[in-house]
Amino acid sequence: MTLLDIRNLNLAMKSYEGETQILHGIDLKIERGEIWGMVGETGSGKSLTGLSVSRLVPSPPGRYVAGSIKFRGKDVLQATDREMRGLRGRHIGMIFQDPTTNLNPAFRIGTQLVDVALHAGHADPSVLGLNPGASRGDLKKAARRAAVEMLEKVGIAKAAERIHDYPHQFSGGMRQRALIAMAMIGKPDLLIADEPTTALDVSVQAQILRLIHDLVTERNIGVLLITHNLGVVAQICSHVAVMYRGRILEAGKVDDVLKRPSHSYTQALLHSVPTAHTKRGELKGLNGLMPETAA
């Protein structure tokens, strides 16, 4: 069974000027073990596609005009709120862009990890290594243990102590590691990472990407990595989808798309990436701005 099968996804948003179509017939298939990069300019609909998979686009103003998002064979757009909550955290993990604002500042890192672990454990005790029908106390103990283990796994030294820290006691890179731990602690089948390294400096970016890459290969899960950095795609993705104005222009294996881009937009995007050998004045930007979507 295909892990994630998005077909003809059409999303419209209401505003004071009327309803505007944002996503135009998105088709995307992700299998286990595939790391999909989704690239495109700001406003091209990458993030909304990612949020749609967990059905996190607020509605209203969002409205799905047509299409389906089948996750493990079940359409999330038809699922009940309760079913959705069962998927989130347990089967679909999410990481967002800014690690400084995505951790709750008033709670210890451990508290936040344990609550996600408990949520996943309630749905499926085997996530925490327990048998079905495990008691509340056992779940709590296992969740605490899992939180320390997960924090260690994402490379936080002295995890058993650091778990009592508040987010402001962590550096930016450590916070993103903690958020990855939160996204992975429920042992999801699909990880959606929305620009997970954009807010980090370059050296930390590479570490975080490696961490994500290692975790997903070890667990053989599917990944949708949203980014506007083609370098990131080249480094860790197996597949790539290029988005523009709410449409996927081109999709396929990274080697095919990046080496032999068939669409002129992809070519232009590739030419706009600076390298160490790019001379002054040689870098090509993309002409024009993203057109107003409301028309």
């Binding site: 996190l56 955290g89 967002f96 995505n102 709750n104 008033a106 609550d115 958020l179 429920g186």
Partner: protein, 335 residues
């Protein structure tokens, strides 16, 4: 932490010293003759002079102030000309009634205001939001003593379900004195009947005082909750499957409390000051009623004493609020 509290407490002393000086001067330069008033219309000049000597009012002002200050430290807060009792003894007698009233209304305001604020933020522009908004507007705008009169009319005169005024029926004896707060003392004594009586007397004045802080706390909580709900971490918590209830009452509540806490702290002083009006309307034997009596008879030692005790309560409350900030926001924790 302990060191911080100690330092803050020591820093209160100069504030209080300045306050006593200010109060002392204001009280002395006010026109009027309290001794003459207390001695009555038929008093001879000799009697008045003798009373002045007894009260130390014939001494020069700096000497009077120094005597007053040394007295304060040793628990001698001067004599009330009107009650002819030591001010300190009067305050000890009246303070618990005021504390009970103030904290009962604060309790009502917080316990109802905070959940309502959270819920109206979640169901923004819903029926509950509009209804509470209307009541809140009235609650903030209406003077406390007027609301008190309306409540008396409705619940005591028409419906006859709650006592009109007073703190405890004169013919009954209040529960054994432990804290001086009748409701709490009744609970400690395990006297369910006394608790009911004490609570029925407390209800109307407490509600009259609670409505305005309740409305403000609710509106404040609503505004900060709406802001917190927009935060990225709420999206993350939702995306990782945490239930709405857990997100709202655990993760959002704590973040939204900080600004509401400021308002709650400020309302403690507002309520203490407000007792002057509400205690008069409800004949509640607390500091407010005592101070009103003292002001009307130009009896300035009680006025200074009451002001001083309210200032101390207020300053300590502010210290508690500052410490509570650290509970809700770990970034501002004091070492």
């Amino acid at each position: 932490m302990l060191l911080y509290i100690l330092r803050r407490l020591v820093l209160l002393l100069p504030v209080l010293l300045g306050l006593t000086l200010l109060l002392f001067i204001v009280a002395r330069i006010l026109p009027g003759d309290p001794v003459g008033l207390a001695a009555g219309p038929n008093a001879t000049p000799e009697l008045i002079a003798q009373m002045k000597r007894e009260l130390g009012l014939d001494q020069p002002l700096p000497v009077q102030y120094w005597d007053y200050l040394t007295g304060l430290v040793s628990g001698d807060w001067g004599m009330s000309v009107f009650t002819r009792r030591p001010v300190f003894a009067d305050i000890v007698e009246y303070l618990p009634a005021t504390i009970e009233l103030v904290f009962a209304s604060l309790f009502i305001a917080v316990v109802i205001g905070i959940p309502l604020g959270l819920l109206t933020a979640v169901y923004k522009n819903g029926a509950l939001d509009y209804a509470t908004r209307t009541v809140a507007l009235g609650g903030i705008a209406m003077p406390r003593f007027f609301l008190g009169l309306l409540l008396q009319m409705a619940f005591a005169a028409w419906l006859d379900v709650l006592p009109l005024s007073g703190r405890y029926p004169l013919i009954e004896s209040p529960p054994d004195h432990v804290t001086g707060l009748y409701t709490i003392d009744a609970v400690i004594a395990g006297d369910w009947y006394a608790f009911q009586i004490a609570l029925s007397h407390l209800a109307l004045p407490a509600i009259a005082m609670a409505l305005s802080p309740l409305a403000t706390i609710m509106r404040m909580m609503r505004a900060s909750t709406i802001e917190v709900l927009q935060q990225d971490y709420v999206m993350t918590e939702r995306a990782l499957g945490l239930s709405n209830r857990l997100i709202l009452f655990k993760y959002v509540l704590k973040n939204a409390m900080t600004s509401t806490l400021t308002v709650i702290g400020l309302y403690v002083s507002w309520l203490l000051g407000g007792t002057v009006l509400v205690e008069t309307v409800f004949d509640w034997p607390g500091l407010g009623l005592y101070a009103t009596q003292a002001i009307l008879t130009q009896d300035f030692m009680p006025v200074i004493g009451v002001t001083l005790i309210i200032a101390i309560i207020y300053l300590v409350t502010m210290l508690v609020v500052d410490l509570l900030y650290g509970v809700f926001n770990p970034k501002v924790r004091y070492a």
